[in-house]
């Protein structure tokens, strides 16, 4: 499948999600068995993408201080948790990685 077809399908799917309740479902109400699990999709999928990038940056599990991305990532997690903001998280993570890279 071409990358263009894939992008168009994602675009259509995303549009339909945005439109869903405004367009139709809002008129019939949102059932709780749909609304409640939806709240857990974001934390589950974001962690599923981000955590392996820290724990296994080269593709296999690497837990230790020699894994600089894990150490920098843990610092970034602390900043993200404290500030809940993107700017400070990115700055803290990148500065940590560059500093560790320079030190070791």
């Amino acid at each position: 499948m071409s990358i263009w077809a894939i992008i168009v399908i994602i675009g259509l799917g995303t549009y339909l999600i945005r439109w869903s309740f405004i367009g139709v479902l809002g008129k019939v109400g949102v059932p709780a068995y749909i609304e409640r699990p939806l709240r857990f999709v974001a934390p589950a999928v974001l962690a599923a993408i981000a955590i392996p990038e820290l724990v296994a940056p080269a593709g296999s599990i690497d837990i230790g201080f020699d894994n600089l991305r894990l150490v920098a990532g843990l610092i970034a997690i602390a900043v993200a948790w404290k500030t809940r903001a993107m700017g400070p998280t990115i700055v803290a993570g990148m500065l940590s990685l560059w500093l560790l890279d320079w030190l070791f």
């Binding site: 549009y15 945005r18 439109w19 869903s20 974001l46 998280t89 990148m94 890279d101």
Partner: protein
């Protein structure tokens, strides 16, 4: 009563401080497009066709990891499922708008548009002023996003790989993750999602992300059900 024009400008002014986050995020997406395997024009077009940063980044990364088509399609869509909640919340404010407005206004719906709109809409408000405030916020974000990703793609080719800028992808997701966790069941969903994703690293072409997401949503839902029954 405030005119449509006033409300549009009010939306533009209200969203301006958020652009401090939108601009670097857009630059990162653009630089990542230029620095990874995805075709530059196709990658850039995701800003118009998908217009959702986290989903765009996930797609770019999965293309680079040679994921299979179903994973390439499903992962960004799953990331965007949260917008169904925004759509549900806005539906009550939009139900008096014309069918045409209800058709095209959702295209501009993002995390930021939702947050700004819900903070300002009043229940008894005129649908026209609601529409123009939303448009002030939405079109400002859209224009900024397009400009930032375009600049990112253009300058991205000049950025050396020794800067490790690809690490910003993980950092963006960590920041969004922290924001998505409001209570214990969501924290559990994240922990289970992250652990299962690491354990399923050997699964082919990114399918582990799907397994991990289902596991995380299940864990969060069960925990939520136990807390609230």
């Amino acid at each position: 009563m405030a005119s449509a024009d006033d409300r549009f400008r009010e939306g533009v002014r209200a969203v301006a401080p958020l652009l401090l986050g939108t601009v670097p995020f857009g630059l990162i997406v653009g630089v990542t497009i230029a620095g990874t395997g995805i075709d530059n024009l196709a990658g850039w077009a995701t800003s118009v066709i998908i217009f959702a940063g986290a989903a765009q980044l996930a797609l770019i990364e999965l293309v680079d990891a040679d994921a299979i088509a179903i994973v390439l399609i499903a992962t960004p869509i799953v990331i965007n499922l949260r917008m169904a909640m925004y759509s549900a919340a806005l539906a009550t404010h939009f139900h008096k708008l014309s069918p045409l407005d209800q058709l095209w206004l959702p295209y501009l719906l993002t995390d930021q548009t939702f947050v700004m709109s819900m903070a300002h809409f009043r229940p008894d408000e005129d649908p026209v002023t609601i529409k123009f405030y939303y448009l002030g916020v939405g079109t400002t974000l859209w224009t900024t996003w397009l400009l930032a990703t375009t600049v990112g793609v253009v300058v991205g080719a000049e950025v050396p790989s020794s800067w490790s800028l690809d690490f910003t992808i993980a950092l963006v997701f960590l920041a969004l993750l922290a924001r998505s966790i409001a209570a214990h069941p969501a924290l559990l969903a994240a922990v289970v999602g992250g652990v299962v994703a690491v354990l399923s690293l050997d699964m082919p072409n990114g399918t582990g992300i799907m397994v991990a997401t289902v596991a995380g949503v299940a864990a969060g839902s069960i925990s939520d059900w136990r807390l609230n029954r």
